[in-house]
Subunit: 508 residues, 2 copies
């Protein structure tokens, strides 16, 4: 135990492979218990703030991050090599997410306030019943490797859980402990300035602490973005709890992209070029990267692939996030290359130096003879093109697709493709038309989720409804007026949409 107590947690410079100065130490079991207990103790204060108070709080957290922009981006770039441009954009998005959830709180529709006044029904008299969603309790959030800000300490899971009124304990990702600690300190200061307990947002380091966090009885939900194996391991820990809790894992996604014959004929160059932009964006380390591309056989499809090959020639060699991802990319693409029938379309020139540099890579395979390896996700700037000769071949591949966050189809002008789109819709959470799945905008209508193994089907981790994951319903029957929350009172101080006797009513 003594060695674990003092074991340092350090990131690595992806550009050189050299270890960075330790950013933190692993959290001990006792330390973990204290942090979770502090989170549980903080719950009443956070809930008591109410919607208006929590909206103010989220805006204060956003300002605190924005004010430290330079320092945050520098820290994140040192640990991830994602570059100042991408990281600056990610910070902007992170700030926006916090502000967006403040707007969700202002609106108030997310609590689903519903009032059935006492009266007669076909089933006899009914009591006065009022229902709304309330905070579920302390939430564990696991930071993602590929978004040191937007899906980590101050990310969408944290923003939506805090907005819902739940304290959060974040398990920092091992790739960016320094960034995690820096951002956590900034948020802690803002929380304290707002009069909230420090336990409102906890931070822990190390795999053991993460496992113990998920098993802790005071934790009531888990948000996770990472690998399928990592998610499955946490799910197995949850299975051993006396009380199972919801696990919101965003785990694995192939993100098939289908180019129809008509689309290939009409705009081969645009599609091939756009595809490579999407495959190599953020070094290919996006959960929505298109990993399998269905292109028709023949001259039109050849033109799509040629445009992609040409675009890939211009793509820079890039460093991946960490040693594990780097090795996994090298192993995966080497394994795929060795499968009979798989040919390499194009490959950038890998760097000879240290660090986690890799070359973008595009392979090709015959859709009539698809190996299982072509349906796997290769995390990094790699994609497989499958060439199909008939609609039956295309459909057979679609029917084998693992469920994903997204499915994309490029159609010809006015092309009907109802059956294809319906089949893709059964295997994805977001259908993208004539575009690319990378770039997940934050908004009311966004959905970032899909059937297993992309996520657990029912919920999203991006967009307004991400807050629903961290709420539970509670009903009041014949409650005295003074015991009702504002949202369910006869004249709410902060107006909100409500359904009264079955009729949805919107303020103003």
């Amino acid at each position: 135990m003594t060695t674990r107590e003092s074991r340092p947690v350090a990131g690595t410079d992806p550009r050189t492979g050299s270890p960075l100065a330790p950013g933190a130490v692993e959290t001990t079991p006792d330390g973990l218990d204290e942090i979770v207990a502090a989170a549980a103790d903080a719950a009443p204060a956070l809930e008591a703030l109410g919607r208006a108070g929590r909206a103010r709080l989220l805006r204060a957290l956003a300002r605190a991050l924005d004010r430290a922009r330079e320092e945050i981006v520098a820290a994140a770039d040192a640990e991830t090599a994602l570059g100042p441009a991408r990281l600056g954009g990610e910070l902007t998005r992170t700030v926006y997410q916090l502000e967006f959830f403040a707007g969700v709180l202002d609106d108030g529709g997310y609590v689903e306030a519903t009032i059935d006044l006492a009266g007669e029904t076909p089933m006899g008299p009914r009591p006065d019943l009022r229902r709304m969603l309330v905070p579920i309790g302390p939430v564990a959030v696991f930071g993602a490797s590929n978004f040191p800000l937007a899906f980590s300490v101050p990310g969408g899971d944290t923003a939506s859980a805090l907005a819902a009124g739940n304290p959060v304990v974040v398990k920092a990702h091992g790739s960016h402990p320094g960034t995690s600690r820096l951002v956590h300190e900034l948020l802690q200061k803002a929380l304290t300035a707002a009069g909230l307990p420090a336990g409102t947002l906890g931070l822990v380091f190390g795999r053991t602490a993460g496992e113990r966090l998920v098993a802790h009885p005071a934790i009531k939900a888990v948000g996770f973005t990472g690998s399928l194996s990592g998610g499955r391991a946490l799910l197995d820990i949850i299975g051993t709890r006396p009380e199972p809790i919801p696990f919101y894992g965003e785990l694995s996604s192939l993100n098939a992209l289908v180019v129809t014959a008509a689309a290939a004929r009409e705009r081969p160059g645009e599609i091939g070029t756009g595809l490579i932009g999407s495959v190599t964006a953020s070094s290919g380390q996006l959960c929505t990267k298109p990993g399998l591309v269905l292109v028709p056989a023949g001259a039109d499809g050849d033109a799509v692939v040629e445009a992609a090959r040409s675009a890939l020639g211009d793509a820079p060699v890039i460093p991946l996030l960490n040693q594990r991802i780097h090795q996994s990319y090298l192993d995966g693409t080497a394994r795929l290359t060795g499968v009979p029938g798989v040919s390499t379309v194009a490959r950038g020139v890998p760097s000879a130096g240290g660090g986690f540099w890799v070359a973008p890579w595009l392979a090709s395979v015959d859709a009539a003879d698809m190996p299982d390896e072509a349906f796997a996700e290769y995390f990094g700037p790699a994609a497989v093109v499958a060439r199909y000769s008939t609609q039956a071949e295309l459909r057979a591949v679609v029917d084998r697709l693992p469920a994903s966050l997204t499915a994309t189809v490029h159609l010809g002008a006015d092309e009907k493709a109802d059956e294809l789109v319906a089949a893709l819709g059964r295997r994805a959470g977001r259908l993208v038309f004539n575009g690319y799945p990378t770039g997940v905008s934050v908004g009311w209508a966004q959905h970032h989720g899909g059937p297993w193994p992309s996520t657990n089907s029912l919920h999203t981790s991006v967009g307004a409804t991400a807050i629903r994951r961290f709420l539970r319903p509670l009903a009041w029957q014949n409650a005295p007026v003074h015991l009702l929350p504002d949202e369910l009172s006869d004249e709410p101080v902060c107006p909100l949409p409500r359904r009264v006797n079955g009729e949805l009513r919107v303020p103003r």
Copy 2:
């Protein structure tokens, strides 16, 4: 296998303990696979009906049941001994549930239709994004012992799953196979008359078939009402699936009822009498039966208990549903009676004959010295009164309460009890004031759920939002108009509430 293939499934007459004529045979593994495959094949037709078509379908199912009222009630009474009055009421409720979900479909708000039109945002340009909830896929429903209609083949789980657009496979409860088969045949006829495949609603018999059903890859969600151990066993099977699926279990509920000192002073007789009415309703076999009652020590509390004792003396001896429940009730109450400090307040006279007859039973214990056995659910007409002398004693018991579907508090006129109510609210899904938790009205604001082990916290099995369990979000990005569902089109044929660019809009 051959013995299992032909093993009959028969109920028992609870009034005599004699076996009834077999109502069905156990479903073979091959039979189960065929039924699930038929359900999966039926999905597109049910979804294609649309909201208006499914609303018509649910109303047709309701009519089919109502027309066979006498036959259904007689069959259910033979297998459950719940009596024609209660079963007639349950059928009325079952019919009402189907009609209610038709109204939920008419309204359309449940799909959460949301449209963000393309435009500029602080994050840069956003695409046209449209999101709604779509059917999750075939649903497994486990019939409950205590509601042969309202929580079985045609019950709330089935109604909400069909309304959502999902085929259903019901696992019949072993206590009422004949009723299950009868009702299933009536519904099948109505489905066929509506032009739907017979696979839209399947029915299977036997424990093995139930286990295989939950493990089947085509099943996408499970609704279950039953014991904690039975639910845990199904949850463990789900844990072994490659694809985990949501399990909606309604499992166990103590339903504490607190009488404050002021309430005991103001209306002891009313509370004591009402309590026994709630404890013995439907032979005490309701998931919302109050099982632990906190009453102040002293003369006012004595008057509450005396009124309860007196009311219990009038309560009839009643037959429980089956041999397992009967034995469990006898064992449980005997075990509790043997615990030091537990005294029997009143007990009806048990019948000497055959069958599953039991006497209602009320025990008393000192709140300062509560045994674990006083926090257990005894399924049947039994309750434990705990007498508290101080607010600290009351609060200590409240802090030990297992989470339940409900928590009830009887207050004095104008009494403040914010902290007590907040503590109860953390342990329940519905807070009942100055009333009783039994009697769960079906409506928009109802919530029938609560933290584990009552359910899985986030969802309800009664009321409009029960439909949310069987839906998943899907988003369309830059979709051509002809590929959008009606709910997300620019001018929907069937109007519904929608959020457009963040603003909630209600038709008319």
